[in-house]
């Protein structure tokens, strides 16, 4: 078509973008895929998605472990997670006839941190660290520790899977962070902190020859220490310093592990699945995530749009047509039930269209991202049958 002729034509709306299909079974069946990370903003059903994929993978023959961070109580019960053990245990009721298995665990961040300390320090030092007030706060109450520890646990599970051959697939849920990206940044931040000048300043007073070191680092250092003392109070600074000094021997370990986990996330055996509900906020966060993963060379499998309503279930009964029909009935009188059913249908259609619109916008912005869908359910999933059904629906969409 020549440009001239086109310009005379009435502008037609652009066709809705067609996304690529995310074949979940292909990922779960691929023996080279060793880690599936489910990420996304809070409230989108990440944990349910992780659990559902875990069940499906196990029943298709993978020896799978699911690491959940903060599951809803009944979902946890459905996986047999009644107590915080910080260790995977077998999920009962999973069909293992294809040779797979399913273990699941819930993260206990304090115990994970304690384990890291125990593994890296001798007994005396470990006790010193455990007794330090700064450590106690850091390991149990401060936000953000969860992200570090989730990644630490992932590293541990992977090491164990490699050493013992217990699992060939780890499905991991990510913490309900301030931002979905926090867990990605956590290990790196820890690494840069441990490499940073601050840590050397904090350690300096506890080291022999500290003065010489201070001179080497530069003149500003005493002012920094003074400022910290003034702001934090001498006693807090002392707690932090003893903590840092006690951790000294572990630093190599920490940094190494942070780097390893990061490398693990970039490795070909890892697959990121971004989960989002079909709402503007969740998809905006998903966009962020997709771009960030690309920038970090982390392998994105695709986007799982969770709890989606289908558009156009009934030919000839769009939202508008349904409302019009209901209004006709109300004028005629005599069919209140049918009128209510039509309005009900119209509401559902309207929601479905709103959802499709936000998903279309995501697809237009990220044409290379493959999509899978999980249908909206009238109530929450909280048993194995429900998880199985969700995963089957996600896989069926790909097959269609």
């Amino acid at each position: 078509m020549s440009p001239a002729r086109r310009s005379r034509a009435v502008p037609t709306p652009l066709p809705a973008p067609v996304p690529q299909t995310l074949d979940v079974d292909a990922i779960l069946d691929d023996p080279t895929v060793r880690i599936v990370v489910c990420c996304g903003s809070g409230g989108v059903g990440k944990t349910t998605a992780a659990a559902a994929l875990g069940v499906r993978a196990a029943e298709r023959g993978r020896r799978t472990v699911v690491l959940t961070i903060d599951p809803a109580r009944r979902l946890a019960q459905s996986l047999g997670l009644t107590s915080l053990e910080n260790e995977p245990r077998a999920v009962r009721g999973v069909d293992t006839s294809a040779g797979g298995r399913l273990d699941a665990m819930m993260l206990d961040m304090k115990r994970t941190f304690d384990e890291v300390v125990t593994a890296h320090a001798d007994e005396v030092k470990a006790q010193q660290i455990f007794a330090n007030p700064f450590y106690q706060s850091l390991s149990s109450s401060f936000a953000g520790t969860q992200e570090y520890m989730a990644m630490e646990k992932l590293g541990q599970l992977r090491a164990r899977a490699d050493a013992e051959g217990t699992w060939d697939l780890i499905v991991v849920d990510t913490p309900p962070s301030r931002s979905a990206l926090d867990f990605l940044d956590a290990p790196k931040r820890l690494g840069s902190f441990l490499d940073g000048r601050l840590i050397r300043i904090l350690m300096a007073p506890a080291k022999a020859g500290g003065r010489a070191y201070l001179r080497f680092v530069g003149a500003g250092i005493e002012r920094v220490t003074n400022a910290l003392t003034k702001v934090l109070g001498a006693q807090v600074l002392k707690d932090v310093q003893t903590f840092v000094a006690a951790l000294d021997t572990m630093f190599g370990g920490f940094r190494e592990r942070a780097d390893q986990t990061y490398a693990l996330l970039q490795a070909p055996g890892t697959s990121f699945l971004v989960v989002a509900s079909p709402e503007p906020d969740a998809l905006r966060e998903a966009s962020y995530f997709v771009e960030r993963l690309a920038a970090e060379h982390m392998p994105l499998a695709g986007l799982l749009v969770n709890r989606l309503h289908h558009v156009g279930r009934l030919a000839g009964l769009s939202a508008e047509e349904s409302i019009a029909a209901a209004e006709r009935l109300d004028r005629l009188g005599g069919h209140p039930l049918t009128s209510a059913l039509l309005r009900q249908h119209a509401e559902r259609e309207r929601q479905a269209i709103r959802e499709r619109h936000v998903v279309d916008r995501f697809v237009a912005a990220h044409p290379d991202v493959a999509l899978a869908y999980a249908p909206a359910q009238a109530s929450d999933v909280h048993d194995l049958a429900g998880l199985r059904a969700v995963a089957a629906a996600v896989a069926a969409n790909a097959a269609r």
Binding site: S41, G42, G43, V44, D70, A72, R73, R74, P133, F134, S137, S141, F142, A143, P176, R178, S179, D185, R189, F193, G196, R197, L198, G220, R223, V224, A227, L228, K230, V231, L232, G233, Q235, V236, D239, D281, R313, L314, G316, E321, A325, R328, L329, H335, L337, T338, S339, A340, L341, L342, R343, Q344, H345, E347, R350, R354, A378, S379, D380, H382
Partner: protein
């Protein structure tokens, strides 16, 4: 300038700081925005603060991204005004050093040595200290001999982290036995534990958000923080009558009658059409039963409840004003 109201809130007359939390996806930012508008209507000056670096307020109020200064977001009915503030932890730290220690240059030095990065990222507890400190400061802010704001609304972290976030200063008090940080921490906890604060929880009538609400309320009560009301958000209208829903649940709706009704409406319908409509009715019945169950669990908490409808056409400023009017009519403001 608008004249401050005497009591900005019917149900919460003593409250100066409204903390709004909720599970992710429950619409807590929207509810917080609506509450701020409701509190400001009638001539109040209300500040809404966000602390999670998401620019959720700018999106909600359709303004350019907020900087590190209070900006006017929207007018409220009858002369009120809503201001917004997005607290950035790094700026908060530098300001904090300047304000409390007159150490602006030391602040830059600390920045160079990675202390700022440490304080705001590696030690996220310190980040929470700074964020709550900034909120505390906004509540107490005075100008020309009177309070700058009649009320402050905090769009707080989600339910999973709210107790930890608000209680961070008592953690600090446990760490720092004396010193300026200790006294600041004590003052903040003093405000947060007092009748001048109410922590409202936003939920959907779904299992997980309600469970988190129940857990958060228990957790907050245990550490002595004042729980406010519960906002039931995004409630759908129910076109079907309760008797129809009950019949739908048992798959006992009269198919022939529905088919006849569709015919009367001039809709070309098949038994398949009827089947889909009845299936939708059954799902609606299931959801309604779930909502009733969850509503009972929320009621059992014994807190005031406020109900907000799902806006059929998505959220915009007009919709936000509607939600604010709902909250005001129900006594939240």
């Amino acid at each position: 300038m608008a004249r401050p109201k005497d009591a900005p809130s019917k149900d919460w007359p003593d409250v100066r700081l409204h903390v709004v939390t909720g599970k992710g996806g429950t619409g807590k930012t929207t509810a917080a925005g609506a509450l701020a508008l409701a509190l400001a209507s009638g001539g109040g000056r209300v500040l809404i603060v966000e602390v999670e670096g998401r620019q959720g307020l700018a999106q909600l109020f359709d303004t350019p991204p907020l900087g590190y200064a209070e900006e006017r977001l929207a007018p409220a009915p009858e002369g009120g005004e809503v201001f917004g503030l997005a607290v950035d932890p790094e700026d908060a730290l530098l300001e904090y050093l300047e304000l409390f220690y007159r150490m602006r240059s030391a602040g830059r030095l600390l920045d160079r040595f990675g202390v700022v990065d440490f304080a705001t990222t590696i030690a996220p507890g310190l980040r929470d200290v700074l964020l709550t400190g900034k909120v505390y400061e906004a509540v107490g802010k005075r100008r020309a001999g009177r309070r700058e704001y009649d009320a402050v609304v905090l769009d707080a972290p989600p339910t999973g982290r709210i107790a930890r976030f608000l209680n961070v200063n008592s953690e600090v008090a446990g760490l720092a036995k004396v010193g300026p940080i200790r006294s600041q921490a004590d003052s903040i906890m003093g405000l947060l534990r007092s009748r001048r604060t109410a922590i409202h929880v936003v939920t959907l009538l779904e299992e997980m958000p309600v469970q988190e609400t129940v857990d958060a309320v228990a957790e907050l009560a245990e550490i002595g923080l004042p729980v406010g009301g519960i906002v039931l958000n995004m409630l759908r209208s129910a076109p079907l009558r309760p008797t129809d829903l009950a019949a739908a649940a048992k798959d006992a709706l009269p198919r022939a009658e529905v088919l006849a009704g569709l015919g009367a409406a001039g809709v070309e319908a098949t038994p398949e059409t009827v089947a889909v409509l009845l299936e939708e009715a059954r799902e609606a019945a299931e959801r309604a039963a779930l909502e009733r169950r969850e509503r009972r669990r929320v009621s059992a908490l014994g807190r005031p409840m406020y109900a907000l409808p799902l806006l059929a056409d998505g959220m915009d400023l007009g919709g936000l004003q509607d939600l604010a009017a709902e909250l005001a009519a129900q006594g939240a403001a």
